[in-house]
Symmetry: C2
Subunit: 371 residues, 2 copies
């Protein structure tokens, strides 16, 4: 007979999931109700309004994809891009590469803007590419590239894209709730995120927002959206503004309870206060890591405060150190992904994990295992 699973208590300072607050965990265990129950619909309206607050947007089409951030990426792309559409995709890490793959899988033509990994996207490189491809319809980029720790200038990239008559599709999986993100002021057309990063809800959901221009574009597509599950035309009937909601798929009820509670906590703290907390704890961690002689992978000014990518010191056994941190200190930090494996560690300070206590604990634990 299989026994019930009792997970160990970890401190999650990797690239996500981040620590989930006990209030959010408690919400996950509340009794399941129906996905068309009037009480549940009321809760969905709360979630939508609080997501508008977190995204800094008034977009009516703000909702939650019932699957993790990667599905949010796919939802953004398959709804916007039609076969033959040209999409300029900025690539400075794993997630930019994933965007390119999804563009191609829906028949789009991806034009990459390649950038050295660990650096922000160069706005000039984007501009040059757009000049060479005046028929491009979209620019896709990752705001905070989780695989390398580099933060790009979303505002400037969007301005350039719009100047060249392109809409932007923005990956804000790691930035939402952790560093400034202004969907309306920066005029970002489509933005998706994940529940398990700076919002500190369990993984499994992808908040997403489409502005009016994007919604109009989807309504006027010539071809059907290739995914039934992610088709915004259908999802609107469930998450839409009207009182009468139509069944599309069964929403992940308890996950939405968790996200609701996480958003209530964000509202209580205030989004700008949350950004400030993430910045301050990151500065504190930088000092601590410097005292250990560790170096950042990303140049100053291009770093994601909530995801600190540092070079693995010379002669150190990557896997052995991470195993010791996990087994002796119950501390999870992130390995390098893809070509970064064995070269960097990714230390997250996201959401509920972004605390002074975690900063000091992590630095002390690293000091122990590296000595």
């Amino acid at each position: 007979m299989t026994r019930s699973f009792q997970p160990p208590q970890r401190i999650l300072m990797g690239p996500g999931p981040s620590d989930v607050h006990p209030r959010v965990l408690a919400a996950m265990a509340r009794p399941t109700i129906g996905h068309l129950d009037p009480e549940f619909i009321r809760m969905m309206d709360d979630v939508k309004r609080m997501l508008q607050y977190a995204f800094r947007t008034k977009n009516e089409m703000t909702f939650v994809v019932s699957a993790p951030g990667s599905a949010g990426m796919e939802a953004a792309i398959v709804n916007m891009v039609e076969p033959e559409d040209k999409v300029v995709v900025c690539i400075n890490g794993v997630f930019g590469g994933r965007m390119k793959s999804i563009v191609e899988r829906c028949g789009g033509v991806a034009v990459p803007v390649e950038q050295e990994w660990g650096r922000a996207i160069d706005p000039n490189a984007l501009e040059d590419t757009l000049k060479q491809h005046p028929d491009a319809k979209f620019v896709a980029f990752v705001h905070a590239e989780t695989s390398t720790g580099a933060l790009s200038d979303a505002k400037t990239l969007a301005e350039i894209a719009h100047r060249h008559n392109c809409m932007v599709i923005v990956d804000a999986v790691t930035s939402l709730g952790g560093s400034p993100l202004e969907v309306d002021r920066w005029e970002l057309d489509v933005v998706y995120s994940g529940s398990q990063k700076c919002l500190s809800a369990p993984p499994g959901l992808s908040p997403i927002t489409f502005n009016e221009r994007a919604v109009a574009h989807i309504r006027n597509r010539k071809t059907p959206v290739q995914s039934w599950f992610l088709d915004v035309n259908l999802l609107m009937q469930y998450w839409g503004g009207e009182t009468k909601r139509a069944y599309h798929h069964t929403a992940p009820i308890n996950n939405l309870y968790g996200l609701h509670e996480a958003l209530v906590m964000l509202e209580e703290e205030g989004i700008e206060e949350a950004w400030k907390r993430h910045a301050e704890n990151s500065a504190r961690l930088q000092q601590g890591l410097a005292s250990l002689g560790m170096e950042y992978f990303v140049p100053e000014g291009e770093r994601i405060p909530q995801l600190n990518a540092v070079k693995i010191p010379e002669g150190v056994d990557d896997a052995a150190i991470r195993s010791r941190l996990l087994n002796e200190f119950h501390l999870e930090i992130g390995a390098g992904l893809g070509p970064m494996a064995g070269k960097i560690w990714r230390i997250g300070l996201m959401g509920a994990a972004s605390t002074t206590r975690n900063v000091l604990y992590c630095v002390s634990a690293l000091r122990e295992v590296l000595k």
Copy 2:
């Protein structure tokens, strides 16, 4: 400020989600750990083994799609079907129609076998269609059609399909764990389900299984799978048999805790005992409904024990009655879906909701509100 959401305590006797047992709810609230944590990988192996038990299969490629049952349907179809492939789709309700839509969205040619709603699929009609379409590659059908309450003979339909050199894609969303389903003995090639029906875990996950023939087919596709998120070639690296697991997407950790606990409970009860319990409680409900003069929508012998579709009595206000049940009795029963709206109610006795207590309560509550 938004307040925390405290859902009401309902009794879920609709078409799903079903009542979630307190043990499963408690599991949902356990501390989140990383999706590559060795302890989590161990738990995934448990889930896989217990799903093999529930599906009655030895299929190595048995895993969980990180999204609800509709995404499981999409995963089954987009991995198997390539553009121009001919798929015979049996349609006797909403979910057969959804299969057809997904086949078409991935460029397949859907050949419908239309069946009166509320009846099982007629094996002769399938055979006739296959004779007319000797180039068909797949047969897709819904085992237990949730929108009408009709149970089809999966074993016979699969035999016919195989005789005509077609693989079968089977929707077992409502049947898994509730009525006999024999993936290996019936030689079902691809079968998907949902967490929120007879397994009684919260919604958001879709157990799925591919036999060796199906996996070989996917490996030999000529075109890439159109969905990155659902691509089995990529998912194999995370759910695969090897010890080393590669990151694909971030799994919905806490949901999987819930499903794990629900499967532990199924193992404790025994799958055949669970089938028996569902059949017995359904028989008891039939007696009770008969005593109220209510009639079943589906002929005897073609009914899903765990989802009882009954005709709404003449002169009764559908919405008003369901509202009273919800508000006065905290009892959710299902409305009719699509063309069935206003014509039938769907009374579920699934998973943890399949109890004598619920049967008696539901009949008594109906007696009150219908008098």
